[in-house]
Symmetry: C2
DNA sequence: TCAAGTACCTACTAAAAAGTGTGTATCATG
DNA sequence: CATGATACACACTTTTTAGTAGGTACTTGA
């Protein structure tokens, strides 16, 4: 789903830093272009794939599922697929996903204080 | 220092997301491979370029100055150059840099709770 | 029977981030 | 007179991330 060269210095440093630095550890879980937006949507409750898509218009379908898959693998969200047709899939936050709210709250505070635009 | 194509969808989305999402806003300031490590070093006080380099062995000189420059541009750190030779440059956190400690504290809490390794 | 809606998958390309390697000026020291 | 230490600068390559553009299966409704 994204080929990674395990032996590169980039990967070595990434692993090194991730295991030594809690900030990087969490950043790898929630810190890319779309993850925070998806997480925020799920703070207000369980959502379907299509609902997330409509809630975040500029995201492409590829980036949306990619983001959802990574969040699922990292245990931040749950995926519940109903065996019906047309498909019906629901996403929700896990406990660790919910616990991100405290972190995000602090980030929002800082951003409001220093975001001048 | 890193050529960016302003017209790309990537950049459009980056700007869009950065202005709409406080998490992304702050992530752009402190969320890459080396920034958190540099910031952490500076939590314990002013440091010289060479001290930072020795404190974070795997970082390359290019990545270190690049990181320092970005942090300076973003107002997270101060750079104080003494007009002596050999050069003597000191880096320290600004107020907004200091204020990152609350954010980082929450991140550390989450990481300690969910970092299983 | 043809289009629309569901939740994806896959190959590909463009762009950005990270890393490598070399070079700079000035002085002190051996 | 060469070497080391200081704090960088710059061109370049590698690796990763983001985005584009197609396609899938099944069913309902017109």
């Amino acid at each position: 789903m994204a080929t990674v060269k395990e032996s590169s210095t980039n990967q070595l440093n990434k692993r090194l830093v991730t295991t030594k630095c809690p900030v990087t550890f969490i950043a790898n879980k929630m810190g890319n272009r779309w993850k925070p937006l998806v997480i925020r949507e799920l703070f207000s409750g369980t959502k379907r794939y299509g609902e997330l898509k409509r809630a975040i218009p500029p995201i492409s379908e590829k980036m949306l599922i990619q983001t959802l898959k990574e969040l699922e693998v990292d245990g931040i969200i749950n995926r519940k697929a109903m065996p019906v047709v047309p498909p019906h899939v629901e996403y929700s936050l896990t406990d660790s996903g919910q616990d991100l709210e405290a972190v995000i709250t602090e980030m929002v505070k800082w951003s409001l204080k220093y975001n001048i635009q």
